[in-house]
Amino acid sequence: MVVKIPSHPKYLCIVREVTAKVGHIHGINEDLVEQLKLAVDEACANVIKYAYGGDARKRIVIRYKVDRGWFEVVIEDSGVKADPEAIMGRRLEEVRPGGLGVHFIKRCFDIFEFDGKKKKGNRLRLVRYLKEKDEDRYNGA
């Protein structure tokens, strides 16, 4: 599964819907589906904000690979390279606007990794190891 969207916030709803459906199709339970939606949305929002500095006319490519015990999302952009060291959420105790997105991504995904081999732009790899409790008898629509 691949989706390619313009880097405009109005397309984030598509990313959420696709993420949810991919989750449902693979029998992931509703609680984790909600977390995956939020995490992938946040990662794409950060691409719009930081890699593209708000430029809505670029492209974001989102790839899903799901296998037994494994939910992977790879997000690619052609924007400014991220400094992985500088990406971190705020301390949750320190209440202020912002700084939550990375927390939402990291509580959901076990791997959060920028591919250092990509020449231009970023390729962020997110992996969730699926535990038994993540699965469900839910059958999609």
Binding site: L38, A45, P97, G98, G101, F104
Partner: protein
């Protein structure tokens, strides 16, 4: 997201519905800033029909809360769906916001 603004016993009630995300939260921010400028004493945010909120929506509410407090006003959230309460709790904001069950509860205390 849609915002419906009404009055209830002198309080402003923001009834939000749909998804609050990077696309829609600027509209919410604009309305909040307007009523903060008006120094409304009590602002109640109805979450019953909110289907989704992301970090930009939460950031907007944190900013709104600060703005209200800056003139001695109060902001309360009510009717938050369980799935969204969980996001506030994870973010350690369930103690920062005044979260009520219903509009009645929000007006009472």
């Amino acid at each position: 997201m849609k915002i419906d603004i009404t009055e209830h016993n002198g309080a402003k009630v923001f009834s939000l519905s749909g998804d609050i995300d990077l696309y829609s939260s600027p509209a919410l921010r604009k309305e909040l800033i307007f009523f903060i400028g008006e120094k409304v004493p009590l602002l109640l945010v109805d979450f019953r029909d909110v289907s989704y909120i992301d970090s930009s929506g939460i950031a907007t509410l944190v900013e709104g809360l600060r703005g209200m407090m800056s003139h001695g006003g109060k902001m309360k959230l009510f009717g938050i769906p369980e799935r969204i309460v969980e996001i506030f709790a994870f973010s350690k904001l369930d103690k920062v916001f005044d979260i009520c069950g219903s509009l009645d509860d929000a007006v009472k205390d």
